[in-house]
């Protein structure tokens, strides 16, 4: 991992070759940040389908245990554990990260800061290909004898450290390998994002004129770079425990299973912000554009983001309140955890304040952005239950937790991600999407999302543990089984609700109207490039005169004022 990444960095700063036209160089082995972004998007969407199908099978099993799942058949407990594990792994590392960070980070950062490409285009290409290879490895792990990893996406040893405990041998090793490759890929990506934004900003684009989504992407990249190291170390130890008989996590010869949990969650909590922040960023871009109003307290939001990022490094033990760790650790971590509500409350309030006295247009991107805001509020509030150590004694490892992180992570990917998708699709592909289909997609998704995940709070409070394959084995859960049925119906509908999206994309790519450069009348630099932008983005680079959110400025007649537009009158 180290050598490839480094070699390319070292090699790279020599030259960026202009890409020769031709299919392979344009679509496959491209160093163009836009193409690479689309590649991340495609792989992520494919994985989303796989992860969704896994969720469907699991939900069916939970609603009607040990009946044949249509299109799959019977699900045994071993297979169920594999599905739980792979669903989590896929959705977090192979859907959320590539789409929110990989796709949009690559596509937006250069366009928004006025760079012709990433700082290290070839490293960028390497990162997406390492990611593709990681995907391949993970995919193959389904088919090796013994089946896929089944120790949960958190892979707690000793369960994950010895073959005898799960009966899974190569599946687990490949799982570790796939994660290691995925981390390598996003390390390269993160280095690239940060370097690009630090060194390649167009004249006039100061740090405090950067669009907020860039800030969010950079914070996310920083969090990832600084948190993943210990987990890689932990993963190496885990792999060695499994393969050459070391004893890091096996108590018999002095190991300790808790070590993994600390290393994993030291990464784990920053990681959830790696997913959340970019989605937050999309919404922060969409809100001002469609309420025709500057974002409320631009700098405050930046400082809050950095504060939240910093805090995310000192909260990890809140995942371990009942893990047997030293009880003295709980209250400090509980306090820092609940404290995180402050920066995020600031951002949420600022978002709502942005709407105040605006002139709000309800186009599809705005609908999804508002949907994210609402769902994120629910997810944030339920987080306080988990953050409070005493409450967590009861709540941890129940479906309440499942509900909470789907309201935060899943809504980040779905509502945040789709807000960005509908907002920038025309810029990415040069075609407009159908508004009506988009609105249908939104309302169906919103309703089915809540139908699926809200009842999980209730069944969780009733005591249903996560990762159990059959609730009917517990007498105290039998009276609540109708909730599981409700959730499953919601989940199936939620999957069906994505059909309008598929139709929309197909319709747009085949028959969609060609997109103008700036369909939403937005200010930021990406809209000054043609749709889709050519290789190297601009004929002549723009120059930046002001911040990104100058909407409805009294001095000018139009409701928007692009960052690159010079004004005769001295502007703020």
């Amino acid at each position: 991992m180290a050598d490839t990444a480094f070699a390319t960095v070292a090699e790279h700063s020599a030259h960026v070759h202009d890409v020769k036209p031709g299919f392979w160089h344009t679509y496959v082995f491209s160093t163009d940040h836009k193409t690479i972004g689309k590649q991340y998007l495609c792989i992520g969407l494919i994985w989303a389908v796989v992860g969704g199908l896994l969720a469907y099978v699991m939900r069916w099993q939970l609603a009607w245990p040990d009946t044949a799942v249509p299109g799959w058949g019977e699900v045994g407990p071993e297979v169920y554990n594999m599905m739980v594990t792979m669903h989590g792994t896929i959705m977090v590392f192979f859907v959320a990260m590539p789409i929110l960070l990989g796709a949009y980070g690559n596509f937006l950062i250069p366009l928004m800061i006025g760079a012709r490409d990433m700082a290290f285009p070839r490293l960028n290409m390497l990162s997406v290909w390492v990611f593709a290879f990681a995907s391949l490895v993970l995919f193959l792990s389904f088919f090796v004898p013994g089946g896929a990893a089944s120790a949960g996406w958190t892979g707690y040893p000793p369960l994950s450290a010895k073959v005898e405990y799960t009966g899974v041998n190569w599946g687990m090793n490949l799982w570790i390998l796939a994660l290691a490759l995925e981390f390598a890929s996003f390390l390269m990506g993160g280095v690239n994002y940060l370097t690009t934004a630090i060194t390649l900003r167009v004249p006039g684009m100061t740090f405090f004129r950067l669009p907020l989504v860039v800030w969010q992407q950079l914070t996310a990249a920083t969090l990832f770079l600084l948190s993943v190291g210990p987990l890689i170390a932990g993963a190496v130890m885990l792999l060695l425990d499994r393969t050459i008989g070391t004893h890091f996590y096996l108590p018999d010869l002095g190991g300790d299973p808790l070590l993994w949990q600390h290393l994993f969650w030291f990464f784990g909590h920053p990681e959830v912000y790696v997913i959340l922040l970019p989605a937050l960023g999309f919404v922060l871009e969409v809100l001002p554009v469609f309420s025709r109003k500057p974002i409320f307290s631009y700098r405050g939001i930046i400082y809050s983001t950095i504060a939240a990022g910093g805090l995310s490094f000192v909260v990890w033990a809140h995942h371990m309140f009942v893990s047997g760790m030293d009880p003295r650790l709980a209250m400090p971590f509980s306090i820092t955890t609940i404290l995180i509500s402050v920066p995020f409350a600031f951002i949420v309030f600022a978002m709502i304040a942005t709407l105040w006295r605006g002139s709000i247009r309800f186009d599809t991107p705005m609908l999804f952005a508002l949907g994210f805001l609402a769902m994120f509020i629910v997810g944030g509030l339920t987080g306080i239950f988990n953050g409070s150590a005493p409450a967590d004694i009861y709540i941890s490892d129940t479906y309440f937790v499942v509900a909470h992180f789907h309201y935060t992570l899943f809504s980040s990917v779905v509502f945040g991600g789709f807000a960005g998708f509908y907002f920038w699709f025309s810029k990415m592909f040069g075609r407009l999407l159908n508004e009506t289909l988009g609105k249908v997609h939104f309302w169906l998704t919103l309703v089915c999302f809540n139908l699926t995940f809200f009842p999980m709070h209730n069944i969780g409070l009733a005591g249903m543990g996560r990762r159990i394959a059959n609730p009917l084995q517990y007498e105290f859960l039998v009276p609540h089984q109708w909730v599981n049925v409700l959730v499953t119906v919601g989940a199936i509908l939620l999957l069906a609700a994505q059909i309008p999206l598929v139709l929309n994309i197909a319709w747009s790519l085949l028959a969609g109207r060609a997109a103008p450069a700036n369909p939403w009348e937005a200010n930021t630099l990406e809209w000054t490039a043609p749709s889709p932008p050519p290789h190297l983005n601009w004929e002549t680079l723009p120059v930046v005169y002001r911040g990104p959110y100058e909407y409805s400025v009294p001095e000018v007649r139009e409701e928007w004022l692009p960052q690159d537009q010079a004004l005769a009158a001295p502007s703020r």
Binding site: S13, P230, L541
Partner: protein, 189 residues
Amino acid sequence: MATRAEAQAIPGILPGKVGVWWFLASEVMLFGGLIASYVVFRLGSAGWSTESAHLSVPIAAVNTLVLLTSSLTMVQAFAAVEGGDQPRLRMHLGLTILLGLTFLGIKAFEYTFEIRAGFTPGAGIFWSFYYTMTGLHALHVLAGIVVNTLLFVRAGRGTRNWHQVELAGLYWHLVDIVWIFLFPLLYLT
């Protein structure tokens, strides 16, 4: 039209340097996580110094000097390239590669020596840590040697790649620093 992306770089900060430093930051976290685990495990349980007593301090001391010296030659290579002195650059790069290989050779000898004595990675938690930490470090040394060899070949073709030598140097010195801590952690205490 086809300008290099670097063309817009803010004067003073080179993308390569910023990138490598960010990469080094993640490397610090990688080895840091490992070292942190080792430290708390070691402080938390007795009898490790008897285990570590089986390691050969003299060999490791020699290896430490080898690696420190390789850092000197590496930085001398950078000085040479700054002064535009290609032959001196090649000489120092070559020396760095040789010293790196020496380090790996000595390490390999050490490993065989210990494994013959029955101290395999499975022999106990100390040995698990010992092999993981030194092994991971050795891999990094190997990576550095590969990079330096690339630069060595290029320098032969007469490419003026002073910036890349500096970047390779940054990485090489970090690997050196890691060993500076591994040595006392594993051998001296």
